[in-house]
């Protein structure tokens, strides 16, 4: 997905976690995600602190994770996400990069030693993406996973049934804030 969420990717080495089960054992605050679309070689978890829901995909074959949250979360999600990110990086000794459209100088991998710099960069992009979301889907703040955001916000905004994949509906105009770039603030 993408337009409804912000995502960071983490990578480790072969010893990061020997199996998907090991991830759950070492990070017990993560619970299995019943709403994820299953994919071979991946396990899906959520971390729900009661105010925010962060979704985690763990790929054991390549020692990678992706973690994301939906953009309709309240603003406090930024700090909660960064705290979780730092926790994961420390626990599993991983590096991180933003999995989003970012400037070239921000597109690389950041190790634990550069976590403060990375957090600052992430905060800027998250603020922009949240503004983009609010301008198009409204200011309702919901601590929801991707599936619930689709059900509550995205799908009610969609048009009736379509007959082909491309260009089948009249362009009824864009929202006022058509953003051409995703420059960090």
């Amino acid at each position: 997905m993408g337009f409804e969420s912000f995502q960071v990717e983490l990578k480790g080495d072969a010893n990061t976690f020997a199996s998907k089960g090991a991830f759950g054992d070492r990070f017990p605050q993560a619970k299995p995600d019943p709403d994820a679309i299953p994919l071979a070689g991946s396990a899906f978890f959520i971390v729900d602190d009661g105010l925010h829901i962060v979704e985690i995909e763990v790929s054991d074959s390549t020692a990678r994770m992706s973690i994301r949250f939906t953009l309709c979360h309240p603003g406090s999600i930024i700090q909660a996400f960064l705290n979780l990110l730092q926790d994961l990086i420390a626990t599993f000794d991983m590096s991180a990069r933003i999995r989003d459209d970012v400037r070239v100088e921000h597109s690389g991998w950041y190790s634990a030693a550069r976590i403060e710099e990375f957090s600052s960069i992430v905060s800027g992009y998250v603020a922009n993406r949240r503004s983009e979301w609010i301008a198009n889907f409204g200011p309702e703040e919901v601590a929801a996973n991707t599936s619930e955001v689709f059900r509550r916000i995205v799908l009610p905004s969609c048009l009736p049934k379509i007959k082909s994949m491309a260009g089948t509906t009249p362009d009824v105009g864009t929202k006022a804030n058509r953003l051409a770039t995703v420059e960090p603030t």
């Binding site: 048009l159 379509i162 994949m165 491309a166 009249p170």
Partner: protein, 119 residues
Amino acid sequence: MFAPSTAYPTTQSGRQQLADDLTSRGLIPTQGQQHFDRDRINKMAEAMLNGEFDWSKASLQPVILGPRGEVMGGHHRVIAAHLAGIELLRIPGPRPQVQVLPFNYRAEFDWVDVLPDVS
């Protein structure tokens, strides 16, 4: 078993052909290359071909298009289904696999710019 010809291309010419195919379908990506994961595309395509893809759960988070065919969400699924030769609009079930938003607010790209590099 996953037929090699339906896996993500391993040559530049194959990547260009895939980009041309997707472009010819009138679909326009709205996410840059940083988003894409070649292995994910292959795993999805394989699951679709093997009948293991969970279309029911996928329909709860369907592919989202903009009014001119802009792919707003579900880029991996669009590419995987194309590689697997599956038409997303023809997947049976109580909910559609593709929905359309009446607006697009994302920057747009060309497929050849956003597809993952070949190995």
